[in-house]
Symmetry: C2
Subunit: 357 residues, 2 copies
DNA sequence: TTGAAAGCGCTAACAT
DNA sequence: ATGTTAGCGCTTTCAA
């Protein structure tokens, strides 16, 4: 019953093989087809495909030939179903187009690759619902692990997944109401250092323009700003503090407002790369020099002489991914929070003295 | 006092449900488990999970409850095996950390999302072997479609996949020895326009620093450079032409060489964003002003006054993804090449006149 | 309205 | 060294 009528003739040449290539559109050959074609059992094909031992060179050759002729490629979906592991990890981030997340994602990918895994990225667009939808879709595909840059602040929806064995690590921002690993940058310390730097250069009236305070890093940076001001015994006029969306219009308006005041700020701290770009543009048209320190380094920022608090996005991704795979390898330490330091890069804009008058 | 498996008692409250939640670590509940728990048939659970009609509200409620209690989530791997489609597309690119590819990938993701699909990204690191390995790994996972930014120049290895039904679109660079859709930027025209712009501003000795000529876009841009020079009747001294890796050391050395010559170039054309960054850095320390036009726009380039030939990475990704999904929807036009135009953005660096002397 | 049975293509566990 | 059988968890088909 299992003898394929065509399997009696053997192809002789490469051209012969090419001519005989048989594909049914949208209907791929399976191991069973290969087995029939090669005149061997299904398991033998499986052995050849997976380089398992116990196949004579001659049999192997025949199987390889059949694979070639039929254009067979193992269906990993079926394999996954049987094996239980997908060799896939998911990464939920805010926006892959943001120059901060590209390198982070790439670093995760490299670690995954070293472990033989592929990476599925998803952008939440800073929307908690979309974050959840994405994370759960990834779980439905049975990713082995999940790395999340959260948009929301309640991640209890992941509890069943984690209990079911999905390794989970948060990065850049901690999870809300869920006790899992988190790899973060020192937003508080970085911002405090940056503002202290401005203070050290003589500034007293310093503005803070940041992202929406709902975002953990944003509120931490604002806290760092206040801490530095307090440490220096400086009052904070609330008109100097402008958290909110990173929309250019909003940020530009905030800058204008702070500079147009009776007692204008003489320095600004930009809470992240999106804000920084707009602030730099706004300051470019301003008559008086205004000092600036930004959170996040950017390409070309060095050439513009922008002093920044640099964080290492790639290290963030790498560290998170390594923790993830350590867990997948069976390590079961208690969830931990890892905080990576930041670096102040003085390039000029942060060392401008307060404008007199 | 644990819950009995006989499911004779119904949970009454949310807390009750939470207490009863039963998870076996690494051993997820299946539809069969849900069916047993709810006291219904397997198919009924399937109907509820997939919102198919033909289930009484009361039955549906019981099934939903069992799903909640057990923490069930449909295994899409199994679903895929049965349905044949994965609702996943793959994107092979060079490097997700490159600011050109982030937005491109994001654009693909958005189109995929609109079609209910997820995206698996993979970076080839400009290595043809790795490109192939990645593309075939994606095919083994039975992605419905594949978008490729090629590193290699022979893509016949994809023939069996395409024949088997994997929709395939190349983007940024065309496929080699394979007749498939390609969505490209007009590298030739863009470079020609940029060089013509420099010529129009009085330059005669113009240097070209580009990527390795093996890369299609790189050779096209070099061709554009030569075309513009020829159109203007200008000779090209081969010492002005420096294709090669985008390593900062190599690029910086090329810049130094061209500026140190007896008859130095008075203007430079940078073949892509990687090259441009290094050229700008190198020129920053140079005594004489040197004009510069770069291919690819970059964030902050406007503030540095860098004249560029801008291409729209997001449009490239969007267009490619739309074609892909059109094919997945059954459209079977002949493979086509779509070329998107570029834009010259004059910002100062390209309008510097030739240095006298 | 509901459910039982038959696979999807593969691998694990046993035969031979 | 090689083959057979029984699932993995789901959807499809068809019967009740």
């Amino acid at each position: 019953m299992q003898t394929d009528p065509a399997s009696t003739e053997e192809p002789r040449t490469v051209a012969d093989i090419a001519r005989r290539t048989e594909h049914r559109y949208g209907n791929r050959p399976t191991m069973k087809d290969v087995a029939a074609r090669a005149g061997v059992g299904l398991k033998t094909v499986s052995r050849v495909v997976n380089s398992e031992p116990g196949v004579t060179p001659d049999t192997e050759r025949r199987v390889q030939e059949a694979i070639e002729i039929l254009g067979f490629r193992r269906n990993d979906s079926a394999r996954v179903l049987r094996k239980g592991r997908t060799a896939t990890v998911g990464l939920v981030l805010e926006d892959l187009a943001d120059p901060f997340y590209g390198p982070l994602s790439r670093a995760v990918e490299e670690v995954a690759r070293a472990h033989g895994a592929l990476l599925i990225n998803g952008s939440s667009a800073e929307d908690p619902d979309r974050e959840q939808e994405l994370a759960l879709a990834l779980c439905a595909r049975r990713v082995d692990g999940l790395i999340v840059i959260p948009a929301g602040d309640d991640h209890r929806y992941l509890e069943p997944e984690i209990r079911a064995g999905v390794a989970t690590v948060f990065v850049d921002r901690p999870a809300g109401r869920l006790d899992v690993d988190a790899v973060l940058s020192d937003s508080f310390g970085g911002a405090r250092d940056g503002v202290a730097h401005l203070i050290a250069h003589g500034h007293r009236r310093i503005g803070f323009i940041g992202d929406r305070p709902r975002i953990h890093t944003a509120s931490e940076r604002l806290r760092g700003y206040r801490s530095a001001m307090e440490d220096a015994g400086l009052p904070v006029d609330e008109s100097w503090v402008s958290p909110g969306s990173t929309e250019p219009e909003r940020v530009a308006a905030a800058v204008r407002g702070m500079l147009a005041a009776a007692e204008p700020v003489t320095a600004l701290f930009a809470g992240n790369n999106r804000v920084m770009v707009t602030v730099v543009r706004a300051l470019a048209g301003h008559p008086r020099p205004v000092a600036l320190v930004g959170f996040d380094d950017m390409e070309l920022a060095d050439l513009l002489g922008i002093t920044v608090i640099a964080q290492d996005a790639a290290a963030l991704g790498r560290t998170a991914a390594e923790r993830l795979f350590r867990r997948l390898d069976g390590v079961e330490d208690a969830p931990e929070r890892v905080v990576l330091g930041t670096t102040l890069l003085a390039r000029g804009s942060g060392e401008i003295p307060p404008a007199t008058g």
